[in-house]
């Protein structure tokens, strides 16, 4: 074993090393110069992203005795994760400054969460998957509770922690059954064991699988395991909500694809039913309950549940087309979610959280450009053509139709229509209601620039979805 | 007379091997345990003498020649006193707590090599065994503190528990350095790795770890200047405030047994155990008794460290509690981690004493 053999795992190692650098450097930085930590963090993300690009390869490499896999899927997901985390940090900078939360630990915890995400994306065994999940969850719990003076943050962190611990327990319990029956923790060996010993495909294995799917459902926030999601979205500070809405979704997708596709493709008929129940419930409850919300973070939380329904239905198909659609949907959703929470952060000021829908009233009068950007995000999330959300939904629906489930396709269209209602309501508020609030937006130039890029990307990918689609197809084909 | 011995030998030969083993091991255990207990008795005398002279007094000098009978007089006094169990205490735990304190202190001696060919149990993970047992010793203290049902006792127990847990980490890390240098967890092998004169002792390459280990040892045994557990000026006598008679005597025994144990471990880990100070000194002539490794070298080293314990007690004022915690967490643990890193680099590059042992 040479050190060069470990090159595909270089991004994780780089990130871990840089986390330690940021952590140590932050100790010696005075409070007034805390911005150094911020730029170090951005530099760390940039270096990690560069190392990801440099080590990317078309082939599938398995490392560390089968616990780590590096394949095109992992590169795409990791690069997106690094990107959205960097964007989230950029958006959050002013907000944290104004709310006296500008501390080095915020960035260190965020980077640890990214490391957990990357470990999950590249996991090739249940053990690494679980460890990555714990790394991610632990940093999320701490981030949600980061604002020590906020009672709602503490409450939602507690809820998140308890439910997350239960989910981890369920996942581990399921893993223990699977390990006991198949005799391995590595996905390809599990798949091999199912193929060579058809007689183990019986109730005990399904029982274990069901618990693993409960864990997946918790991580994604799919109904009926969604209880934490709206509360955490609302209770956490907006930058943290942005974080939770983006990178962990990529990790959850990796969790789903690695376990269900790499490990249990042989049991497709078994998990299909379970996933369908989760997906349909999420679609219906997420979209319907979102209508009743007055808090935009909570509304976006419920809408996230609805989007998870789409992603899970794409996975449900069990075809390459379906998996590619799920990947496309997740990637684009993450970009749009980053933008919409970026807008929430942009509207907030010192001592004021722009978290009510009414805070968006008459935004057009205050800042036509950012109202226009918010329109992009809302139309994107609603699935209005030509914004990218439309193609994401279209892909999923066509995959489900191709797999032979027209009823589900109809349900998805209905859900999308219901969803369009509450997204377009935000647009209505911005353009056709008069503002109660006249304050000028006070964000720095770089934040405005990136937010604008983010908004334009939602439109641009929608106008030219071809390259991303073909990328998704190639990665999962 | 020789006939008698031969007769006994012939009887011995007829005993099954299992039972022979049992008898031999039991007698070894008894021999070591009795020695330790007797040593403890004289250690108390030693302490009072040392501190007495340091303070310009004479120390005990009434009972027997030079006051040597004093320990026995004390033991006798404590044995004939009544053991008072407080009314609202938890009777069972109150009684069992001193036993929990003394058992690990004595059991740890099982793996300690007293000379090149005498050790009761020659196990591979001896170092871990010692660490595990010293960490178990804290139960005696905290159970005593809780079962007494007294605020002072509980406060003392809490202080002691936090202190022992904190310093155990530094101690464990210091021992990681030792086992890296020796390449073994077996105490005998650790001693043998230091053979070849005192320049080969781990004292020199591991000097920071030696200091951390010994000072942590002082803190682990709740001795001055880390004796906030007893802190007579604040919490009367800490966890054993309500103990009297034999029960108190057993706590006392455990404390001194632990002092001797820490001194022994320091001698073994950093001072070559039974190895001679003059091992490589040719002017003494081949086979000179001073060059031979023997139990007496170990005993001399132990005595020295026991003396240092008392010396510390006579010279240093008591630490404040937050200072104890700071020293443990913020000074000792970083030092040990840094030195382990240094050691890792040195053994990787085959420098210095690690040139041989590095794999």
């Amino acid at each position: 074993m040479n050190l060069t053999d470990l090159l595909p795992a270089a991004p994780e190692m780089t990130l871990l090393g840089l986390i330690c650098v940021v952590l140590l450097a932050d100790l010696f930085v005075e409070d007034e110069k805390r911005v150094i930590t911020f730029w170090l963090t951005i530099a760390a993300l940039f270096i990690t992203g560069t190392s990801l690009v440099l080590t990317a390869q078309e082939t599938r490499t398995v490392l560390f005795d089968g616990s780590y896999v590096s394949d095109p899927l992992s590169h795409v997901l990791k690069l997106t994760a690094v990107g959205v985390v960097a964007i989230g940090f950029m958006y959050a900078r002013d907000y944290l400054h104004q709310n006296k939360l500008f501390k080095g630990e915020y960035y260190v915890l965020g980077l640890f969460g990214l490391l957990g995400t990357m470990v999950m994306i590249s996991a090739n065994s249940m053990l690494t998957m679980y460890l990555g999940l714990e790394t991610l969850s632990l940093s999320l719990f701490a981030l949600v509770a980061f604002d020590r003076n906020s009672a709602t943050a503490a409450e939602s962190a507690m809820k998140f922690f308890v439910l997350g611990a239960i989910a981890s327990g369920a996942l581990l319990y399921g893993i223990s059954w699977i390990y006991g029956i198949t005799g391995s923790l590595q996905f390809h060996e599990i798949s091999e064991a199912i193929r060579t010993n058809p007689e183990i495909n019986a109730v005990p294995l399904w029982f274990g699988l069901a618990f693993v799917i409960v864990g997946i459902g918790f991580k994604f926030g799919a109904v009926p395991f969604h209880m934490w999601l709206p509360d955490v979205y609302q209770g956490a500070r907006s930058p943290v909500t942005l974080y939770i809405a983006t990178a962990p979704k990529l990790a959850a997708l990796a969790l789903t694809l690695r376990i269900l596709v790499d490990g249990f493709s042989g049991l497709h008929e078994v998990w299909q039913g379970m996933i369908m129940v989760l997906a349909v419930l999420s679609l219906v409850i997420g979209n319907v309950v979102a209508i009743a919300q007055t808090n935009i973070k909570r509304m976006l939380g419920y809408s996230a549940i609805g989007h998870v329904g789409f992603i899970l239905l794409a996975v449900f198909c069990g075809t390459g087309q379906g998996y590619a659609a799920a990947l496309f949907y997740t990637l684009t959703y993450v970009v749009m979610a980053a933008g919409s929470f970026g807008m929430v952060i942009l509207l907030s000021r010192q001592g004021f959280e722009a978290e009510l829908l009414s805070d968006f009233k008459g935004l057009n009068a205050r800042s036509p450009w950012f109202a226009f950007m918010m329109l992009f995000f809302m139309f994107g999330l609603a699935g209005v053509p030509p914004w990218v959300g439309f193609f994401a939904k279209l892909n999923v629906i066509s995959a489900v139709l191709d797999a032979g489930f027209p009823g589900l396709a109809v349900l998805m269209v209905l859900a999308a229509v219901v969803g369009a209602f509450y997204y377009i309501r935000v647009v209505w508020l911005m353009y056709f209601e008069s503002a109660e609030e006249r304050a000028i937006l006070q964000a720095k130039v770089d934040t405005r620039f990136i937010l604008s890029l983010n908004g334009l990307a939602v439109l641009a990918i929608g106008l030219m979805p071809g390259w991303l689609l073909s990328l998704c197809m190639r990665v999962l084909g | 007379m020789t006939g008698m011995i031969e007769y006994l030998n012939s009887i011995w030969a007829t005993v099954p091997a299992d039972y022979q083993y049992l008898v031999i091991v039991t007698s070894q255990i008894l021999a070591v345990a009795m020695t330790v207990i007797l040593t403890v008795a004289f250690t108390t005398y030693f302490e009072r003498k040392v501190i007495g002279y340091m303070q310009g007094r004479l120390g005990p000098n009434r009972v027997g020649p030079f006051g040597l009978g004093q320990p026995f007089a004390d033991v006798l006094k404590l044995l004939i006193k009544e053991v008072i169990v407080p009314a609202k205490s938890n009777r069972f735990l109150f009684i069992i707590a001193p036993l929990l304190a003394i058992t690990p202190a004595l059991a740890a001696w099982a793996v300690i090599p007293l000379s090149d060919n005498f050790v009761i149990a020659d196990i591979d993970a001896g170092l871990l065994y010692v660490l595990a047992l010293t960490s178990v010793g804290v139960y005696g203290v905290i159970i005593a503190g809780w079962a007494t049902n007294s605020k002072y006792a509980l406060l003392g127990a809490m202080r002691s528990g936090a202190q022992i847990v904190a310093y155990e980490i530094a101690m464990g890390f210091a021992l990681v350095g030792v086992l890296m240098a020796a390449g073994s967890l077996n105490l005998g092998d650790i001693t043998r790795a230091q053979a070849g004169g005192f320049s080969h002792w781990f004292l020199f390459p591991l000097l920071p770890l030696f200091l951390v280990f010994f000072v942590s040892g002082v803190a682990e045994t709740n001795r001055a200047p880390f004796d906030v557990t007893e802190g007579e000026s604040e919490i009367v006598a800490g966890f054993h405030v309500e103990y009297s008679g034999v029960a108190f005597a057993i706590f006392f025994l455990a404390e001194y047994a632990n002092i001797i144990l820490i001194s022994t471990l320091t001698s073994i880990f950093f001072f070559g155990g039974w190895a001679s100070f003059f091992e490589g000194w040719t002017f003494l002539g081949e086979g000179h008794f001073l060059r031979q490794p023997s139990f007496f070298w170990l005993a001399a080293k132990i005595s020295f460290f026991v003396f240092v314990f008392f010396w510390l007690r006579a010279t240093f004022p008591r630490y404040r509690y937050d200072q104890i915690m700071r020293l443990g967490w913020k000074v000792f643990i970083p030092i040990t981690i840094a030195w382990i890193a240094v050691e890792g680099v040195m053994s990787w590059l085959h420098w210095g004493p690690w040139s041989g042992s590095a794999g």
């Binding site: 795992a9 871990l16 952590l23 490392l63 560390f64 005795d65 616990s67 780590y68 630990e105 260190v108 915890l109 640890f112 490391l115 065994s125 053990l127 690494t128 460890l131 990555g132 714990e134 790394t135 632990l138 940093s139 719990f141 701490a142 509770a145 980061f146 020590r148 059954w177 006991g180 029956i181 005799g183 010993n197 007689e199 183990i200 005990p204 | 735990l93 196990i123 591979d124 993970a125 871990l128 065994y129 660490l131 595990a132 960490s135 178990v136 804290v138 139960y139 905290i142 159970i143 809780w146 509980l154 127990a157 809490m158 528990g161 936090a162 022992i164 847990v165 155990e168 967890l185 937050d322």
Partner: protein, 200 residues
């Protein structure tokens, strides 16, 4: 034979201690029973020649984790009556979980028995085999990736805990030791030369 006797003796003690954990009314007693249970399982591991795991169990769980646990339990004034009520209330649920675990064990052993050669007793180890060494070898080769991530999780937990608990309260007096050590005599002591007064 002798080993079997020891095994059953310690297994029975383990069982009794575990029962003590859930049946004792006083939480401190329950915690102490748990300590006893850890000891018994450590002994069982010793019998299986897994001496490293046994000692680490004692070192970590008995020596550190349970001490802190006892701290908390001793500090809390737990309402014994309410604890008693909980036993009967949660017993059905506990039994259900226990039954599930038994089923799981049976299933696993059954499947293993069919796929592999079956579960034997403790296999005798060859001479010179060191459990500690074998464990170290496997941790640092086959499982090195998982091992390192576990270390990262511990570091993260430390950072998270400190982030959430440490804050500088205004008005709190703290000792700055570096500052104290750096003090020079001339900062604190002023030596004044004075003319000697004439005797009156």
């Amino acid at each position: 034979m002798f080993q079997a006797v020891l095994f059953y003796f310690f297994a029975a003690a383990l069982f009794a201690a575990a029962l003590g954990v859930i049946l004792s009314r006083n939480p401190v007693h329950a915690a102490l029973f748990l300590v006893l249970a850890f000891f018994q399982s450590a002994v069982l591991w010793l019998l299986a020649e897994a001496e490293f795991l046994a000692i680490v169990l004692v070192l970590v769980y008995v020596g550190a984790v349970m001490v802190l646990f006892l701290f908390v339990v001793m500090m809390l004034d737990v309402d014994v009556e309410r604890v008693r009520g909980g036993l009967t209330r949660y017993a059905p649920f506990g039994l259900l979980v226990a039954a599930l675990m038994v089923i799981e064990l049976v299933q696993v052993i059954w499947f293993r028995g069919r796929t592999d050669a079956g579960l034997g007793g403790f296999q005798p180890t060859p001479d010179g085999y060191s459990n500690t060494k074998a464990l170290g070898a496997i941790l640092y080769t086959e499982h090195v990736y998982a091992f390192e991530i576990a270390a990262v999780i511990l570091l993260l937990a430390m950072v998270a805990a400190i982030t959430l608990t440490m804050r500088k309260r205004p008005g709190l007096k703290v000792q700055n030791i570096a500052e104290q050590v750096a003090v020079k005599a001339k900062d604190r002591v002023r030596i004044v030369k004075m003319e000697t007064e004439k005797r009156q």
